[in-house]
């Protein structure tokens, strides 16, 4: 690999002169960028580095020698020996002239415009001392209601079309368009009523003036009066950088912006998201200031379990927790405690949590929401490459020549990684998408639409699709050089050769030729990444499927090669952090194994205390143990098993059986309602810390406002209970926790470049080699089996495949408390193919009854028709607990990883008559 790197072609460069200064830039660079490199500012409105040049505003005119007219520097590429004059009188006058035109119809409402103070039109008018020469009648657009979230003020529009171009070129949503002609051009949207789109907020952010604005904080602020805090998003694991614009005096987050560089918002954004955000990131911040936030501890009245929850002082609540914990520990020992944390918490809170459980309570039973599926991928990746972190980066996806996306509706689950995949596809990369979803044109982007090869497999058949690809690679003799002779690969070939093409075809619903063609493309690619998500990591055989993907990559030399590898997507922002902080029963902070003496010893030395030996119980085991009376107390930090798991998982019964339950959360959850003590926690906006995104990048979380009155950061609460229990874990502040983590494990510091930061870990290639030699054949026949029953019912027999999964606009408790997101969608629907809807005679919004094909119970749900779903498949967004569709699901425990699998079911649909 290293050899090929050194023969990289040297980029051709071009020398030119701008305002008498020479500069050398890569061929193809635009004049405006070459000038920026020299620090020569050329003003512009319509240009944006994320977008193709349109050259419409004409503000960036420069004089180029030997060219007859002034040239727009945003559209002219440099050429050798070019001589540019960016600031002559002629040029300055031309810019002033353009400003005259733009100001002609621009209203003088800067004092009430939310863009005032961060508006390039204001700034350039000042700089070029342009003032209104226009003495005619101004153009007035009729006010139009655009959307509950986005305010459109067309009178301010300068028709640069950045919003329309962004929506198309970056988001691939195409929800916006210019309508009418000439002087009367305005920004419009498709559809008759209000805007329907992805609500990424990109149009608002990219608008250079105040024509498109966020309606949620409209007229509530002047930009310069807000305090701006750079932090990391708390929704999904994409790990976007964003800025909380807040009013610290009132402890209010007013709005979110992202890093589009300077005040004119015109350069590539910073952060893993390069400035792009999704609906949750941009419009989902109000949960912080939700009136439903818990602001006082709650305890059972008079300590009676059947008493109501009543408000209590922090002293009273903490004392009570310490007392009960002490009593139970004294009577039953540490094993009597079970603890679950949410992977939404910061690394610091998670670290203190597991330390508290392990040392103060003395329990090995600590687990977290990574158990819902992330551990499948983390375990498999650790075996395959020695680290749970990604080997490829987001940049590798963008620069790949092939991206294989499978098991994820990426726009909904991880929209920003979705943008990376789109960018790769738009640059000409091959895009193989394994998805039962059909292509569909709407104003929501859909990755299947961009696929160069769509493997439209049966729902739930992801594993068999990948098995088919492994088989095809081996059959074609396309295994990477030197691999074929290896005994483990020979064994793999033997195993897959026993699977017939017919079996694969009937299990996947695909032709074997299509799978073979995909395998061929995959093999031929040189920079290729597999991006996969919830339908693999949270599904049946999740761990096995990730290993099969690993086998596919390994076979073709793409597991650890530069720019290649596996890229699992996670739902919660800090799943990687929770895993790395040891909030799983078998791992310690820093990824050490609990049952590995040297690993234990290292952590024990740092903590100066013995760590209880395991193995501790995993989530579902803990709940069972609680029901059986073996676990007597449960500590739930941000985790809500009652609201998340289907009723059949028995979480509610577990909580009821336990003697003492503590729920520590932002809101009173279904779990909190069953707790003995509820402790109000501070949100991510109210504390410092770090999140680790799915790639394994540790990123800063910064305090924008002081904790909402009455709430406290998790680590502080834990520390206070510890003190009360006479086993102090004292920290002055969050930073002290960070330092302790960093001492124990230097990889957990912001800005780390991924796996390379993990000390003592072998190179991934070495780990992969070891996997191939020692582990590949382990459980191979189980992994590569095709069950005869592995067929999904077709709707013809009246049964449907119900899938529960993520929705772009919601993620659960936080999103349901965010006004903005609720304005986009405040209730769930059962999404159904138009063919099926027609068969049932149900229209949009009408209800059907959903019944489990295997168990009791039924619910009524309203239908939304969406052609993306194939006949026979229905989808329900998992973030909504009402109606209780999830209770129709049964839980299957993954033997290898103890992941509770419950995202799909076979259901019967009945029309309500």
């Amino acid at each position: 690999m290293a050899d090929t790197d050194t023969v990289k072609l040297k980029t051709e460069t071009v020398k030119l002169t701008i305002d008498g200064r020479e500069v050398e830039v890569p061929k193809g660079t635009l004049v405006i960028e070459a000038a920026r490199k020299l620090g020569i500012e050329i003003p512009f409105f319509c240009y944006h580095q994320k977008l193709k040049s349109d050259g419409n505003c004409r503000m960036c005119l420069v004089a180029v020698e030997k060219m007859p007219k002034l040239q727009v520097s945003c559209s002219v590429p440099v050429s050798e020996g070019m001589v540019v004059h960016a600031n002559t009188t002629v040029v300055q006058e031309a810019r002033k002239g353009v400003l005259d035109f733009l100001l002609a119809n621009h209203p003088l409402d800067c004092p009430i415009c939310d863009e005032g103070g961060r508006c390039p039109l204001q700034d350039y008018s000042q700089k070029y001392t342009a003032y209104g020469q226009f003495k005619e009648e101004k153009r007035i657009y009729e006010k139009e209601f655009f959307s509950p979230l986005i305010e459109k003020e067309m009178n301010r529009c300068i028709q640069c079309m950045r919003c329309v171009r962004y929506c198309d070129e970056v988001i691939d949503s195409k929800a916006l368009s210019s309508v009418n002609r000439g002087y009367h051009i305005e920004i419009g949207h498709y559809g008759e009523k209000q805007l329907e789109c992805e609500f990424c907020g990109g149009c608002v952010q990219i608008c250079p003036v105040g024509a498109l604005l966020n309606r949620l904080p409209l007229y509530e602020y002047r930009p310069w009066m807000l305090t701006r805090t750079e932090t990391t998003c708390a929704y999904c694991a994409d790990g976007c950088s964003l800025r909380l614009e807040s009013r610290p005096q009132t402890r209010e987050v007013i709005e979110v912006t992202s890093f589009w560089g300077n005040e004119t918002k015109t350069v590539w954004g910073k952060g893993r998201n390069e400035g792009d955000l999704c609906a949750k990131g941009y419009f989902g911040y109000q949960f912080v200031n939700s009136p439903n936030r818990l602001t006082k501890p709650l305890v059972r009245k008079d300590g009676r379990r059947d008493g109501p929850l009543v408000e209590a002082s922090w002293e009273e609540a903490l004392e009570r927790v310490a007392e009960e914990f002490g009593r139970i520990k004294g009577l039953h020992g540490g094993e009597a405690f079970g603890a679950l944390a949410s992977a939404r918490c910061t690394n610091e809170n998670l670290y203190v949590f597991q330390k508290f459980i392990r040392l103060v309570l003395g329990s090995p039973n600590v687990d977290s929401s990574v158990r819902y599926g992330m551990v499948n991928a983390a375990r498999a990746l650790t075996e395959l490459t020695g680290t749970p972190r990604w080997l490829p980066s987001y940049e590798d996806i963008t620069q790949a020549d092939l991206v294989f996306v499978i098991g994820t509706d990426i726009t909904h689950s991880n929209p920003i990684v979705g943008l990376k995949v789109k960018a790769a596809a738009k640059k000409g990369a091959k895009l193989i998408v394994g998805s039962p979803l059909r292509p569909r044109i709407s104003t929501l982007s859909h990755i299947v639409n961009l696929a160069t090869r769509h493997l439209a497999h049966r729902p739930g058949a992801e594993r068999i699709v990948v098995i088919g690809m492994v088989k095809a690679v081996l059959e074609q003799g396309k295994a990477a050089a030197g691999l074929a002779e290896h005994p483990s690969i020979a064994r793999l070939r033997e195993t897959v050769s026993k699977l017939s093409q017919k079996q694969i075809e009937s299990a996947t619903g695909l032709s074997y030729d299509a799978i073979r063609a995909a395998a061929e493309e995959w093999t031929a690619a040189s920079r290729a990444v597999i991006v996969f998500g919830e339908s693999i990591v949270r599904a049946r055989d999740g761990y096995e499927t990730v290993r099969i993907l690993g086998d596919l990559a390994l076979l073709t030399g793409k597991l650890t090669a530069e720019g290649c590898g596996l890229a699992p997507l996670y739902e919660e922002n800090n799943e990687m952090g929770a895993y790395e902080m040891g909030v799983v029963p078998d791992r310690l902070p820093g990824l050490g194994r609990l049952d590995h003496e040297p690993d234990r010893e290292r952590v024990q030395r740092a903590w100066k205390e013995p760590i209880p030996t395991g193995p501790g119980l995993t989530m579902i085991e803990m709940l069972a143990a609680a029901r059986e009376g073996r676990i007597r107390a449960l500590y739930l930090m941000g985790e809500n098993p009652v609201g998340t798991l289907p009723a059949s998982a028995g979480a509610a019964e577990a909580l009821e059986s336990a003697e003492f339950v503590v729920s520590q959360d932002l809101f009173l959850t279904e779990t909190g309602e069953k707790a003995d003590v509820v402790l109000p926690a501070a949100s991510f906006a109210e504390q410092n810390g770090t999140f680790t995104n799915q790639e394994g990048r540790v990123q800063p979380v910064r305090k924008a406002i002081e904790p909402i009155h009455g709430t406290r950061p998790d680590w502080e609460i834990l520390s206070q209970i510890a003190v009360e229990m006479g086993h102090p874990l004292e920290y002055q502040d969050g930073a002290e926790v960070s330092h302790e983590i960093a001492r124990l494990w230097p990889a957990c510091r912001p800005g780390g470049p991924g796996w390379r930061e993990i000390p003592g870990r072998s190179e991934p290639a070495v780990a992969a080699e070891r996997y191939r030699a020692e582990r590949l054949t382990e459980g191979i026949s189980e992994r590569y089996r095709i069950d005869s029953g592995e067929k999904v019912p077709a709707s013809s027999n009246g049964r449907f495949h119900l899938a529960m999964g993520p929705l772009l606009f919601h993620s659960g408790k936080m999103s349901l408390q965010a006004d903005g997101l609720m304005k986009i969608q405040n209730r769930p629907f059962l999404y159904m193919a138009p063919e099926d809807a027609e068969r049932f005679g149900v229209g949009e919004g009408q209800s059907v009854r959903l019944r489990s094909a295997r168990g009791p119970g039924s619910v009524e749900v309203a239908v939304k028709i969406d052609a993306k779903y194939p006949p026979g498949m229905v989808f329900f967004p998992e973030s909504f607990n009402e109606p209780p569709v999830k209770d129709l699901l049964t839980v299957e425990l993954d033997k290898a990883s103890h992941v509770p699998v419950f995202k799909t079911a076979e259901v019967v649909i009945e029309k309500i008559t």
Partner: protein
């Protein structure tokens, strides 16, 4: 003086219907037979280059040179587009060629497509030309049936298909890159150049866009040879015939096919029958609404590209509009400015905002609400538009105001000072109509 008709020969033949049979009877479709047999595509390009045929759409760019800009790589798909979006006020020559002799155009397109190696060609026809579109559809069907179009035309190895694409009523789609966008199904907005269509045209492929009249010349050049073509008109730089659409205050408005280089005086007084009511000529637009106004003193200028350019206007689309001595120049300039303000596509700030700004000011002046400083402001706005836009529309729209201000500034001043019009039947009347 009478001239031998070339492009108008068929359609001025009594009883000629424009059908395939009529066209063949007049010797039609012989040029492609000859070209396919005698010329390799490069030779045909060379022939047209040597003929000196210049574009009849407006810019007058040499057709053969344009063809020669295409990349030579034979593997590349290329397209030919016929610009039949004739929308220039005062111009109606293409319409007659389309409606009355469609096969002449189709034969010309076949020749051009063969020369540049295009297997697919489009005719982009102005949306309002409903009848013309019907005629062309019929003619294309006839040509397909007769084997002039389709796979292996005339049993040669050449495939050429022609599709008719109707516009939807935007003047800007006559601008060649906006035309391409429109064929692609997008808003008809001009593209930034470079890259030029020869490199990155329709669907990103090398593309040639030629005007109806330009293409209609090709069969004649092939049939009668370069020497014939370069001997007529105003060689060496403006050879060939030219169809002028003469309108305005003349006795016989209409299309006149004459050799390039006859004088304006001959065109107006001999061909078009002189000025209505024998009045004096005040102004002439020599080449469509985008061309600067000329005064009577230019009547002896030769109607060829160079001569017209020398007097500060352009031959353009060949639309000649004559205005007599009673025409108010403020009103005439306003009239055209209103057209341009209505037709600006709105892409570039100067043109989008400037055109309506100019209209509002011109309306004030026309209606007697002008101020003396408006005149300098008009010039300033025009200069801020000219040369500052993506396409030539910006340069075109300022021509009427700048040229009328140059030649008839006194009329503007009279409107402002006296609030009266200097000329015509409004002469001396107060102009305080409209608001302000």
């Amino acid at each position: 003086m009478k001239y031998e008709k070339v492009l108008h020969k068929n359609l001025e033949t009594p009883g000629y219907t424009g059908s395939l049979a009529d066209y063949e009877r007049q010797g039609g479709y012989q040029a492609i037979r000859k070209a396919l047999k005698e010329y390799a595509p490069t030779q045909l390009i060379d022939l047209v280059k040597r003929s000196g045929l210049r574009g009849r759409g407006g810019a007058g760019f040499p057709a053969g040179t344009k063809w020669d800009f295409l990349p030579k790589d034979p593997a590349l798909t290329r397209y030919l587009c016929c610009n039949a979006d004739e929308s220039e006020p005062g111009t109606f020559k293409d319409r007659e060629l389309i409606e009355r002799d469609p096969h002449q155009l189709i034969e010309g397109m076949i020749l051009a497509a063969y020369a540049i190696g295009a297997k697919v060609a489009y005719i982009y026809i102005r949306g309002e030309f409903v009848y013309g579109a019907q005629v062309l559809e019929r003619a294309l069907a006839e040509a397909n049936r007769a084997g002039y179009l389709g796979k292996k035309i005339l049993k040669s190895g050449t495939d050429i298909e022609i599709y008719l694409h109707r516009g939807a009523g935007a003047y800007i789609c006559g601008e060649e890159t906006a035309l391409l966008e429109s064929i692609e199904g997008k808003r008809g907005l001009p593209r930034n150049k470079p890259p030029f269509p020869a490199i990155h045209g329709l669907y990103g492929k090398p593309t040639v866009i030629n005007n109806v009249e330009t293409l209609s010349n090709l069969p004649h050049i092939v049939n009668r040879g370069v020497e014939w073509f370069t001997s007529i008109g105003s060689p060496p730089k403006s050879p060939g015939m030219r169809i002028f659409s003469v309108s305005g205050h003349v006795n016989r408005p209409g299309n006149y096919e004459v050799p390039m280089g006859i004088t304006l005086r001959e065109l107006i007084h001999e061909q078009a029958g002189g000025v209505l009511g024998n009045k004096k000529i005040k102004a002439i637009i020599p080449g469509g609404a985008s061309a600067a106004f000329l005064t009577e003193s230019s009547l002896d200028v030769k109607m060829d590209f160079e001569s017209i350019a020398q007097v500060g206007s352009m031959l353009g689309s060949g639309g000649v509009t004559v205005m007599d001595e009673d025409t108010c120049m403020v009103s005439a300039a306003l009239n055209l400015m209103e057209f341009f303000a209505h037709e600006t596509c709105g892409k570039c700030s100067p043109c989008r905002e400037g055109s309506s700004w100019l209209v509002q000011m011109m309306r004030r002046i026309e209606h007697g609400h002008g101020r003396m400083e408006d005149l300098d402001q008009l010039v300033r706005i025009c200069n801020n538009i000219g040369g500052k836009t993506v396409c030539a529309f910006g340069d075109a729209e300022i021509a009427p105001i700048l040229s009328t201000l140059k030649h008839w500034r006194s009329e503007y001043e009279y409107h402002i000072k006296e609030k009266k019009c200097l000329v015509g039947n409004r002469g001396g009347q107060l102009l305080t109509i409209g608001k302000h």
